[in-house]
């Protein structure tokens, strides 16, 4: 408990003495709802390094693993609902968990959505000597018989990774439930699967492809709205190849739902300043993320939009009932 005690004290002290107007972030903390070394850790490091010039004190990174983010979400809806110092890392995958009830009965209204750390985009990947030379080859084969091709990714059926494959199939009016989907335990194992020939297609993320741009894999398309910046500018988007599947994997931060407007706005202001700086951009790309700068109202709207999209897809594919 010692880790949390100071914050409880600080929060109590702030509540007792501070004037509401003086919104100050005196002990900034970023909570990565996972073990160290994972994607949420990286997200928090972006806050730690990227916000450094704009805060009096460095952001502390703490870890709260458990229940694929559920433990942290519950914590911020039960005990730390108004903590003005803490931000929690989340991703598109967390939103999907929220929709499908894996976080309990909470909804997206139970948090204050703060700002993005950056984004990644889905990518359709095959082996370099795959018979599918182009996306058209693959889609034609999928159209012929969706169950003739093994598609794999790092998550279970109904996960964010699976959604990418489902979305791909939907562009040709295929039934995602007919696809032959293989669930791996994380992107690393799925990449091993495609390299070893266990699966033919991998619906991964473009960011993780930096380690594999040695010619062993071929990227058939990127699930972004438009061409990305180098070194990914060589890959055509799905959209420009005639398949309307866009899949950003947002990474960002939320706060407890009872955080006051002043405290929330103080954080939004800091993120707005950071988003405009060169230094932040550099840190973002070093951590494997692509630019996407949203905060405050705008960000909340984006979260809502993506949640709606996820919800519709989940209903359509029978993951949840209305």
């Amino acid at each position: 408990m010692s880790r949390f005690a100071p914050f409880a004290l600080a929060a109590a002290a702030a509540a007792a003495f501070a004037l509401p107007a003086a919104a100050e972030i005196d002990r900034p903390e970023c909570i990565a709802p996972a073990q160290p070394g994972g994607g949420f850790d990286l997200t928090c490091r972006i806050a730690q390094q990227g916000l450094e010039p704009f805060l009096d004190r460095q952001v502390q990174v703490t870890f709260m693993p458990g229940g694929i983010g559920a433990v942290a979400f519950n914590m911020f809806n039960t005990t730390r609902t108004d903590d003005p110092n803490a931000i929690v890392a989340f991703s598109t995958g967390s939103l999907l968990n929220l929709i499908t009830g894996k976080y309990g009965d909470w909804s997206i209204d139970d948090a204050r959505w703060l700002a993005t750390a950056g984004t990644d985009y889905g990518a359709v990947v095959v082996l370099a000597d795959s018979p599918y030379k182009t996306l058209d080859d693959l889609m034609a084969a999928l159209k012929e018989d969706p169950s003739s091709i093994t598609i794999g990714a790092g998550g279970s059926v109904g996960s964010q990774d699976w959604m990418k494959a489902a979305l791909l199939l939907k562009t040709i009016d295929g039934d995602p439930r007919k696809m032959r989907y293989v669930a791996f335990d994380g992107g690393g194992e799925a990449i091993a699967g495609v390299l070893g020939g266990a699966i033919q297609v991998y619906t991964g993320d473009i960011g993780e492809m930096t380690s594999h741009m040695d010619g062993s894999l071929r990227i058939l398309g990127v699930m972004a709205d438009e061409r990305l910046a180098p070194p990914f500018d060589q890959f055509a988007t799905l959209k420009e190849q005639g398949y309307d599947a866009v899949w950003p994997i947002m990474r960002g931060f939320y706060m407890g739902k009872d955080v006051s407007d002043e405290d929330y706005q103080a954080w939004v202001d800091i993120f707005e300043k950071a988003h405009g700086s060169e230094e932040y951009r550099k840190i973002q790309s070093e951590k494997g993320l692509l630019p996407l700068d949203l905060s405050g109202e705008e960000f909340t709207a984006a979260v809502r939009a993506q949640t709606q999209q996820l919800h519709d897809l989940a209903v359509e594919t029978g993951l949840i009932t209305e």
Binding site: Y103, A183, K287
Partner: protein, 505 residues
């Protein structure tokens, strides 16, 4: 070959710089201590210290060398609490308790500690030599290993498990079954459906390895100790000054060599780790021991050397897919991979070309680390062995506190503290009923891997079970599995027949 030597040259130049040398030694030392604490294994040691290593602002190769030192240091240290306290530090050290702890109770704690240090050294060193020579080639082999081959490997591991069947096959199998059942808790990896989570969010991700090991083993052992103490049946172990002899090493040299290889190969396969490697190694050795296998489980030095050589071999083996392909082979290497990314280094096939100082520096540090660990561990044997002389009424609460801190520092969730208590009571009851706990843990470890890969294989084939027998690798493994079960039975029958024939004549 020249390439490897050149690479190692670069690597040693990096690893032997004063700062890095100091860091590898510090890492190994800290790792040994961390591993020796019940409840904190390599994965947690690295996870806890990663933010610190990051905060110290070292260059990436130095930070990575420090973390890797902690990794194999902890793999070394894990054996200490297994041997002395019968509480494994992590899942990979479970098999070490089987013969290590009886040795300590027979007054051979010093010998057990020193022999296992030698076995760990052999396992680690053979593995790092193989890693430098054949890393990329092995990585390609590991990747070619299909889900259906993993199924065959798990069948083989289960067959090896059958060698654990002691006096009561029914209880061993029931134990393994309990482990399998525990493995099904949480979100199903294939369909995303919740299983046996009863709507409790803390159970969604399943029960952590560590919680099972600490609960079933550690807490149950503590309850057992307390019970003994209350009944006044606690016997004090005399301080022993025993030490490994050359004869012991000569007797276990083939065991160590074989198990180092087994450990390394299983370690290179993404997804399988020290726990599978040590189980397969122990089972294989017990099978190979033939008529002398009866002493396994009662403090046989071969039963101690086997899992220790294997788990250190696999710790290094797990580095192969991480370094050469950027694919983590185990939980700990997944964290190391995250650490690389945090230091803005992209792991994978390009790392050896783009950042040779990191890739080769890390490999060179493994050579140094292994020697450092042996040198560090042998003189400390006497000190560790004296731990047994700490009066039980101080030791028991100390272990309990360490276990709770260990679990809480990692999981950060009070729910798991209740869970280890519950599992501890359950484990204690199982012990009262004469169940061995190792099959439960192995059932848990193997069960998850078996199920996931079986379902992956069947998704690939579209439900055709024929895929399980479609590759040479899998057929070889099935043949080995059958051999492991049948040959001892057959040998036993033949020996009995001969004995009968001799008797009749």
């Amino acid at each position: 070959m020249m390439e490897v030597l050149h690479g190692l040259g670069t690597g040693f130049a990096v690893a032997l710089s004063p700062l890095n040398l100091l860091l590898v030694l510090a890492g190994c030392f800290a790792g040994t201590l961390i591993g020796a604490l019940p409840g904190i294994g390599p994965i947690n040691g690295v996870a806890i210290l990663l933010p610190i290593a990051y905060g110290l602002g070292f260059p990436p190769e130095s930070a990575l060398i420090l973390l890797a030192g902690i990794y194999y240091g902890a793999e070394y240290g894990g054996r200490i609490s297994s041997i002395l306290l019968n509480v494994p530090g992590d899942a990979g050290a479970v098999m070490t308790t089987l013969d290590g702890n009886p040795m300590a109770r027979n007054g051979q704690a010093g010998k057990a500690l020193s022999l296992s240090a030698v076995a760990s050294f052999v396992g680690g060193t053979i593995a790092v030599v193989l890693l430098s020579l054949f890393g990329p080639m092995l990585a390609r082999f590991g990747v070619k290993f299909q889900p259906s081959d993993y199924v065959a490997l798990m069948v083989f591991a289960f067959a090896c498990l059958a060698s654990l069947v002691g006096s009561s096959p029914l209880k061993t199998l029931t134990g393994a079954l309990i482990g399998l059942m525990l493995a099904t808790i949480g979100v199903d990896a294939n369909t995303g459906v919740q299983r046996y989570s009863f709507g409790i969010p803390d159970l969604l991700a399943g029960i952590d390895f560590l919680v099972i090991v600490i609960g079933l083993f550690g807490m149950a052992e503590l309850f057992h100790l307390v019970e003994q103490q209350i009944r006044g049946r606690l016997t004090t172990v005399p301080i022993d000054k025993s030490f490994v002899s050359w004869a012991d090493i000569a007797r276990t040299k083939w065991t160590m060599l074989r198990c180092s290889l087994i450990g390394f190969i299983i370690g290179t396969l993404p997804g399988t780790g020290a726990s599978v490697a040590s189980a397969v190694a122990y089972g294989t050795e017990k099978r190979l021991a033939g008529s002398t296998a009866g002493t396994f489980g009662t403090g046989d030095i071969r039963g101690l050397a086997a899992p220790e050589a294997a788990n250190n071999g696999s710790a290094t083996g797990a580095m192969v897919p991480m370094l050469t392909l950027g694919i983590p082979g185990s939980g700990t290497t997944a964290i190391l991979l995250g650490a690389l990314l945090m230091f803005n280094v992209t792991p994978g096939p390009l790392m050896f070309e783009q950042r040779p100082e990191i890739a080769w520096g890390l490999i060179a540090s493994m050579y140094i680390g292994n020697i450092a660990l042996l040198v560090l561990n042998l003189p400390l044997v006497g000190l560790f062995a004296r731990m047994l002389t700490i009066p039980q009424h101080y030791l028991t609460p100390l272990i309990a506190i360490l276990a709770f801190i260990g679990i809480y520092s990692i999981v950060g969730n009070p729910f798991d503290l209740y869970m280890i208590i519950g599992l501890g009571v359950f484990g204690w009851i199982l012990r009262k009923l004469d169940f061995s706990l190792a099959p439960v843990i192995l059932g848990f470890v193997l069960g998850g891997l078996f199920e996931n890969n079986l379902r992956r294989a069947l998704s690939i084939s579209g439900g055709d079970w024929g895929i399980l027998f479609s590759t040479v690798d899998s057929l070889v493994l099935y043949a080995l599995a059958i051999a492991v079960v049948v040959i001892p039975l057959w040998l036993g029958r033949r020996a009995a027949r001969r004995a009968n024939a001799a008797f009749d004549a």
